[in-house]
């Protein structure tokens, strides 16, 4: 390969063309116009369009999305960050993908509406096909190892924590609307594991408050009946709340298994301790992001400047940072010009004019964070500002 591009080479020609088109669209980019007509095209920011919404339980639904052309695929068990406008405001949340690679190229997530939850309620109850959503490529380490030969697994799923696990199981044992297809090893879906040749030994312990609000419980039962997995389902209203010490009773060969668990923090913590004491291998996925709750005052950290200031909740971040010697952007100093806007990566602030709280939860913001006006904001808890 030539190190130097010859003049007139296709690459140079293409660059020239791009520059010419840019000269025609300035101050916008050609993409700003293309996005009007083909938001899912190759080369665009990654987006997706909701294809359909299927209710799973009274408060959970599966959202099928057609991702943009640059979607790079995923490994079952991974999640995506999805940005969707709720009441006109862009919100970002993570959701596990609930399937393996699909023939139609679509992806799906399954969302359980949490009480007062902004995004989950919107997705479950209000999202309509045709809506454009913003996506990031799949991420996450909660995936099965490449080599599944002769491995024994335990999946512990609690509530909506079943989602990444159902993604893995569906990939191993394709499920259609008609029922389970225990792979015969001929379709392209299954990975190295082909149950008929190399039987995988999977036990699923699923816990939930009640059976009716267990997402995918029918799928799990079908898989159980087809002999693909061994399902142990436990409901709080029938069996009482499951303690981790009961596991050995429910899964006698626990010690031979590698455990994958997804559920509330309390359960995962208990499981972590339980497995550590016994020297067992455990992989977990936490759904609950860091909880940012608003208080009075807090420490403001200006990350690039390397300065931290402690505030009482009555002084503005702008005043305090300047007092500490940081060169801050500013203008009117009264909240009308946006000359002081900086991204908050994490934390909560209070608008001194009307008391309104703005929070930035890591993983739930635009890349970069949430813009705040430092001249009318005071911390409502520890804040990290990108400046």
């Amino acid at each position: 390969m030539a190190l130097l591009e010859a003049p007139g080479s296709p690459r140079r020609l293409r660059d020239r063309l791009v520059r010419a088109v840019e000269a025609a669209t300035t101050p916008l980019l050609p993409a700003d116009y293309l996005d009007l007509f083909a938001p899912l095209r190759s080369g665009a920011d990654l987006r997706g369009r909701i294809v359909s919404v299927h209710p799973e339980t009274a408060d959970a639904a599966t959202i099928v999305i057609r991702p943009g052309a640059d979607w790079a695929g995923h490994v079952p068990g991974q999640y995506i960050r999805i940005g969707i406008d709720v009441d006109g405001v862009r919100q970002w949340r993570a959701y596990s993908l609930t399937h393996g690679p699909r023939a139609d190229g679509h992806i799906s997530i399954t969302v359980k509406a949490v009480p007062q939850g902004k995004v989950s309620n919107h997705l479950v109850h209000e999202a309509v096909p045709g809506t454009l959503v913003h996506l990031e490529q799949a991420a996450g380490e909660f995936v099965l190892p490449d080599d599944l030969a002769a491995r024994k697994f335990l999946f512990v799923t609690a509530g909506s924590g079943v989602t990444p696990v159902i993604g893995m199981l569906r990939n191993l044992f394709p499920v259609t609307d008609e029922g389970v297809l225990v792979s015969d090893g001929l379709d392209g879906h299954s990975l190295a594991a082909r149950p008929t040749e190399n039987p995988l030994d999977i036990t699923v312990v699923h816990v939930a408050p009640t059976r009716p609000d267990s997402i995918f419980i029918d799928n799990l039962h079908e898989l159980h009946e087809a002999g693909a997995i061994t399902l142990v389902d436990r409901y709080d209203d029938v069996h009482g709340v499951l303690g981790v010490d009961q596991l050995e009773e429910l899964v006698p060969d626990l010690a031979e298994r590698t455990t994958y668990a997804c559920g509330p923090a309390g359960l995962l913590d208990a499981l972590g301790q339980h497995h550590e004491e016994r020297g067992l291998e455990l992989f977990t996925e936490q759904f609950r992001p860091v909880v940012i709750s608003a208080g009075e005052g807090g420490t403001v950290t200006l990350e690039k400047s390397g300065v931290s200031v402690e505030l009482d909740g009555t002084t503005t971040i702008l005043d305090a940072a300047e007092e500490a010697g940081v060169l801050m952007p500013s203008g009117c100093r009264m909240g009308i010009c946006m000359g002081c806007v900086l991204p908050m990566r994490e934390g909560a602030v209070r608008d001194l004019r009307n008391g309104e709280i703005t929070t930035a939860t890591p993983g739930e913001t635009n890349t970069g964070g949430v813009s705040i006006q430092t001249c009318i904001s005071t911390p409502a808890g520890p804040c990290h500002i990108d400046h």
Binding site: P27, V89, R90, G331, G335, S371
Partner: protein, 413 residues
């Protein structure tokens, strides 16, 4: 007009400090109502406007590819003019105010927006959002009062140079975007500083502005005309783009003149503004320092809702589509506190602003005192004032002021 503190009747004299603070509280409540209710339909509005504007621009430019045919030239030029006006007024100006920042959409955000104008977003945000909106109508602090080249207030000093101000104003209107760019750079002030002493910040902004102007001009006057060559439409497209920019400049200039220049809009003395002006006091200054344009929905859209200049100045960060619903509440507040809500049709406001430009291009009182009979005498006086130097002019000013005081005393008696 004269700054309110030097007027016979200060229009705020009847307001107690408590009234002023109460006005602040009531306006805050109006603002909060909008904040509490803004949501999906507002977001849909701005996205729709952006979508329509971009398609209109694309469509117009496509039509102009064949602008050698007169109907195509007309349709394309009108479309492009409208698209450029929408882009500057309802979209650019308002997005850069941060009116849509609450959507957290990085593509429609004050920190990322760049507009189709010779001035850079950064320069504009400084001179407009920070200086003009904060120090609105304070003589000597708000450079929008005449943009540093014109006299729009009695309290700004007259000089013979200003005789040409109606002409300057017209030229500025035609090339308004460049005027804004120069104004954002404070070009006049900075060019007077010796080259090597100019600030780093000025040099950087000047470079950015020149680059922007070059790109803008390349787009309108080279690239698009060149794309029209296949149909033999190079020159017609060039003319169309020039016309669209001219139309946009004239329109935006007129709308903006209506905001603060019509007769009866108040101005303020620097020394009358307390160092720690309260929110209530700031609000009252905005209330008296702006004028609205009455008209249809289409008019409001094409002015970028600056036809609600009063509401815009009170709440520069509220989404523009909500000014219309806020206006009656604001007007009721004006009535309650017996203040003058200044609103008139576009021709009236433009006429009034131009009248002021002409009137103040002449020494104070000159136009009012001149009639057919004394015209020769007045012209002679003007000649003397123009050629006589500052001393003569100061004497004239003093005489004018004495005459006014006398008038005031006789009225009082």
């Amino acid at each position: 007009m004269t700054t309110i503190t030097r007027k016979d009747v200060n229009p705020t004299a009847h307001l107690t400090p408590e009234d002023i603070e109460q006005i602040g509280v009531e306006l805050d409540a109006i603002r909060q109502d909008v904040i509490d209710s803004r949501g999906a339909s507002d977001a849909a509005y701005i996205r729709k406007v952006v979508d329509v504007q971009r398609k209109l621009e694309l469509g117009s430019r496509a039509v102009l590819l064949a602008s050698i045919f007169p109907p195509a030239w007309i349709v394309g030029t009108v479309g492009l003019s409208v698209a450029k006006i929408l882009e500057n007024m309802e979209i650019g100006h308002n997005v850069m105010h941060g009116q849509w920042d609450w959507m957290r959409d990085p593509k429609i955000h004050s920190t990322t927006w760049e507009w189709d104008n010779a001035s850079t977003a950064e320069g504009w945000k400084h001179s407009h959002n920070q200086v003009h909106h904060t120090y609105t109508n304070i003589v000597g602090k708000d450079n929008d009062l005449g943009y540093g080249i014109m006299r729009v207030d009695e309290d700004q000093r007259w000089s013979p140079f200003l005789l040409g101000q109606p002409l300057w104003n017209f030229v500025n209107a035609c090339f308004f975007e460049y005027g804004i760019a120069a104004y954002d750079l404070e070009l006049g002030k900075n060019l007077r500083i010796p080259r090597e002493k100019r600030s780093e910040a000025f040099r950087r902004s000047a470079k950015n502005t020149l680059r922007k102007i070059r790109k803008q001009a390349t787009k309108d006057y080279v690239v698009h005309p060149a794309l029209s060559i296949p149909t033999g439409s190079f020159l017609p497209t060039l003319a169309a783009n020039f016309t669209a920019n001219l139309a946009r400049n004239l329109w935006t200039h007129s709308v903006i003149m209506c905001g603060h220049f019509p007769e009866g809009v108040e101005t303020f003395e620097k020394k009358s503004i307390p160092a720690n002006e309260t929110r209530g006091e700031w609000y009252v200054r905005q209330m008296l320092g702006s004028a609205n344009i009455s008209g249809s929905k289409a008019m409001h859209l094409m002015t970028g809702q600056l036809s609600f200049q009063i509401e815009h100045h009170l709440f520069p960060d509220l989404p523009s589509n909500r000014y219309a619903e806020v206006a009656p509440k604001v007007q009721a507040l004006f009535e309650k506190y017996d203040l003058n809500y200044h609103s008139a049709s576009l021709p009236r406001q433009v006429g009034s602003a131009w009248h002021k430009i002409v009137r103040l291009s002449l020494p104070n009182g000159w136009l009012a005192e001149t009639n057919v009979k004394n015209a020769p005498k007045q012209v002679a006086l003007l000649y003397k004032l123009s050629t006589g130097g500052p001393k003569v002019r100061r004497a004239y000013d003093a005489m004018q002021r004495r005459a006014e005081n006398q008038k005031r005393e006789t009225v009082a008696a």
